[in-house]
């Protein structure tokens, strides 16, 4: 039968490539379909964007160091706040997590690569072009978008040349995210090694399966929202114009229907990373594996019915205010399950405190602080005081910086030996941790006080009574920002050399990726491993030898 021959031919052509490493030259990175290469591209892109967005943040904090206008004129300040958010969300945090997914999901489930390797390449390579469009607006008449990353009309539509570029950049990021998410879902559902049942998957894989679903459901809604902005600005529609029967508040509803799942898109993979690290350094299996899965799924579901808690002060019927207050508080239940499970995992474990574990523990503590301030914000009458103050800024930086970014850094230290084949410098890693963790709290904790005292967000100047804590916060910002250069130094140093890492790397590490050589070979699991369940360790499959 010709199909059989063809099949054999296909197998041959794969075998031909089996023992090839990556092709030489820089174009390898442009044409690659290898999940490890693409993961690396995502991670480097995210790191670069982290520093671009960070530079903008330092501009903001420099201006706010003391009252009065000194460095940035107010319009440029607004451009900085807007672009800082867009870059950090779409350019740094999201691509970093996709980078982790690319590197780890196939290795964790015993797959030879992502399910759709060409599309995987495209998902990444749209991003540099999207950010070229976005960053180019800085050099246009009227400058970059300055109406806030939430793009509320009518303000955002008054932006001059940047409006169309902003909208198309967001479209491109959306296309990239949707294709990336489709690839992750298909890989997890279709590419698992035999015996890798869903409830044997590592929790990182579970968290990404659910995140990918959120992405596919949320990003098209954002695309619709910005398309309406485009036609309102350029083609005479009245979606957000009350004179034509539309409503500017409608944009906020559509935007936050995307925006709140987006928050969980940026934190669920972090939960996944932390759920891998804590068991390793506690030398105990994760406590309550299945409850972790259900909690993650519950958070994802509830995330679609809480969006209007971003809009309590905008003018909603009382029933709406109450509904969104209760659903928002409900999210604390599954999130609490996760935090308690992490603590129970550490309880009476043989804990050691290598750098990834330090970041993970800091994540649990500091993310929980962000969660509690979120609960405070969820209370509608209280939110009328907090809305658009620095309390909100403090809240979401605790969940995004000491939450998402800390998890990314924790994961980077954790898997760096597997990726590079070398151990990083533990002393420097600890220095990086302590510098960052102390400075980040100096940076963001005072912002709670500023917000409670009434300092509004997104302003370049402020009343004198806010001066002291702003100065403290700015000092923390510069220490935190420059501490990250140490991270770059450590990563580059680890790539270039260092102590040879063992295959398992960490004494307590379990899971398929630790059965591979360090560094992981260019192609892995072309023959699927067979998985047998270790009944004492659900969620940490062992390969059957």
């Amino acid at each position: 039968m010709s199909a059989n021959q063809a099949h054999a031919h296909a197998a041959d052509s794969i075998a031909e490539h089996d023992h090839h490493g990556p092709p030489p030259g820089l174009l390898r990175w442009v044409f690659t379909t290898n999940h490890k290469d693409i993961g690396t591209l995502y991670l480097w892109f995210a790191l670069i964007m982290f520093f671009v967005g960070g530079a903008l943040a330092l501009g903001i904090r420099a201006e706010l160091f003391k009252p009065g206008l000194q460095l940035l004129d107010p319009h440029l300040f607004n451009q900085f706040t807007t672009m800082h958010a867009l870059i950090m969300i779409f350019g740094a945090v999201m691509p970093a997590f996709v980078g982790f997914a690319n590197w780890l999901v196939p290795m964790m489930i015993g797959a030879p690569d992502m399910a759709l390797p060409r599309m995987n390449n495209w998902s990444f390579w749209i991003l540099p072009f999207a950010f070229t469009l976005l960053l180019a607006t800085f050099f246009m008449p009227g400058g970059a978008p300055a109406g806030g990353w939430t793009m509320y009309p009518p303000l955002v539509l008054q932006g001059g040349s940047n409006v169309a570029f902003l909208i198309f950049a967001v479209h491109m990021m959306g296309i990239s995210s949707i294709m990336g998410a489709i690839n992750v879902i298909v890989t997890i559902l279709n590419m698992r090694a035999p015996g890798m049942t869903l409830l044997r998957m590592p929790l990182f894989v579970w968290s990404w399966l659910i995140t990918a679903f959120l992405l596919i459901a949320a990003m098209p809604v954002l695309a619709g929202a910005v398309t309406m902005l485009l036609t309102d600005k350029f083609f005479g529609t009245s979606f957000f114009n009350a004179a034509g029967g539309g409503d500017p508040v409608m944009f906020q509803h559509i935007f936050w229907f995307f925006g709140h799942p987006e928050v969980y898109i940026m934190i669920l993979p972090a939960f996944g990373i932390i759920s891998q690290i804590i068991p390793t350094f506690s030398r105990k299996p994760l406590f309550g594996y299945e409850s972790m899965v259900y909690a993650t799924a519950s958070i994802a579901f509830i995330s679609f019915i809480v969006w209007a808690h971003h809009m309590f002060t905008v003018g909603m019927p009382l029933t709406g205010e109450l509904f969104f207050m209760y659903t928002t508080m409900l999210i604390a239940v599954p999130t609490g399950v996760k935090v308690f499970n992490w603590m129970a995992t550490m309880w009476r474990g043989s804990m050691t405190f290598e750098t990834p574990m330090l970041w993970a523990i800091a994540f649990v503590v500091l993310f929980t602080i962000g969660g509690f301030s979120g609960l405070m914000l969820a209370i509608t009458p209280v939110d009328f005081q907090y809305h658009d103050t620095y309390f909100v800024v403090a809240h979401f930086h605790y969940v995004l910086v000491t939450g998402a970014v800390f998890a990314i850094i924790a994961g980077a230290y954790y898997w760096l030996p597997k990726w590079t084949g070398h151990n990083y410098d533990e002393t420097l890693g600890k220095w990086h941790f302590w510098l960052s963790t102390i400075s980040v709290n100096v940076l963001f904790f005072p912002q709670h006080f500023l917000g409670l005292a009434g300092m509004p967000r997104r302003i370049p100047d402020y009343a004198l009574q806010f001066a002291d804590w702003n100065m403290v916060s700015s000092v923390g910002a510069f220490v935190f920002g420059f501490s990250q250069l140490l991270f770059v130094y450590i990563v580059v140093q680890t790539i270039r050399g260092g102590k040879k890492a063992t295959d398992q790397v960490w004494e307590g590490a379990e899971g398929l990726e630790w059965t591979l050589a360090s560094p992981a070979p260019y192609h892995t699991f072309e023959q699927p491993p067979s998985i047998k369940e270790d009944s004492a360790h659900p969620g940490t499959p062992l390969p059957a030898h």
Partner: protein, 289 residues
């Protein structure tokens, strides 16, 4: 359950994605330039479109060649199926945003502008005294001037029948393919494509009628906005679906597909049914009620 990896085809080195990125960059960047009044923008957009067209033909061409050469085992087939399902799911959510805008305007913002409810009572009469929040409307400022609407019975009903019929013909084509009856397969596919084109023709007639005779335009307030954006995006998707089915027809005529393996055909058919379902939503909520 996914059985195996051996033989799971993993392509090496691909030029198409970077081409797609450059094309998309030129097309959308050029469009943004156009909206800012740049005179060189059309050239940039045309170059971007050409690059995208070459990319799409090249990329799908490569995949078709690999498929016909038998590189894809059942597991690859399943990957494609999952991928297409989730892609359609994302499209559903894109339309959901516009349906959401329609429902929000009709249920909340327009009645509020007319002074209804606790929100409307405090603002509506103060801002827009005398405005009655009744659908269809172009708002209290009557943006775009007085307009007429398209009755559901007429072209929309005719188009509903056409599109549902085309959903049946594509199913008949599928049945023919599964029985390996090549001729009926091609004829039913051709019928589907033609019905799609007829639908688009009528949609064009309807738009022309709206613009020329009813003064119903994209600028007719919230009614015109939701009407043309929903039907317009739907029409765009019908066009894409018709092109997909046309490619399937050409492939069927070249002898591609077997009764057991014809994922591309099924993907195009799924897409067509999706477009069909969206239309039914449009017919009910845009034209009828």
């Amino acid at each position: 359950m996914s059985a195996t990896h051996p033989g799971y085809y993993i392509p090496h080195d691909t030029r198409w994605p970077i081409m797609g990125s450059i094309g998309l960059f030129a097309l959308l960047g050029g469009f943004a330039m156009l909206l800012n009044g740049s005179s060189s923008a059309p050239v940039v957009m045309i170059i971007g479109t050409l690059i995208l067209v070459v990319m799409i033909i090249g990329w799908f061409g490569t995949v078709i060649k690999e498929s016909e050469s038998g590189f894809y085992n059942d597991q690859v087939d399943i990957s494609f199926r999952h991928g297409m399902i989730w892609f359609i799911f994302s499209e559903v959510l894109f339309f959901a945003a516009f349906f959401g805008a329609l429902f929000y305007a009709r249920i909340y913002s327009v009645p509020w502008l007319g002074g209804e409810g606790s929100v409307g009572a405090t603002t509506g009469p103060l801002l827009w005294p005398g405005f009655e929040g009744i659908w269809p409307t172009n708002g209290p400022a009557e943006i775009g001037g007085a307009f007429g609407t398209i009755p559901a019975v007429g072209i929309p009903l005719l188009n509903t029948i056409i599109l549902i019929t085309s959903g049946a013909t594509v199913t008949l084509a599928h049945w023919a393919l599964k029985k390996n009856q090549r001729k009926p397969l091609c004829w039913w596919l051709l019928a589907t494509v033609l019905l799609g084109l007829v639908f688009l023709y009528f949609q064009g007639v309807e738009f022309a009628h709206a613009y020329n005779d009813l003064n119903l335009t994209l600028e007719s307030g919230i009614y015109g906005s939701t009407f043309f954006m929903l039907t317009g995006f739907h029409g765009l998707h019908v066009t894409i679906g018709a092109i997909m089915l046309l490619v399937m027809l050409l492939r069927a005529m070249r002898g591609h597909f077997t009764p057991e393996r014809h994922f591309a055909f099924e993907a195009a058919a799924w897409y067509w049914h999706f477009v069909d379902v969206v239309w039914i939503g449009l017919f009910i909520f845009v034209y009828w009620f």
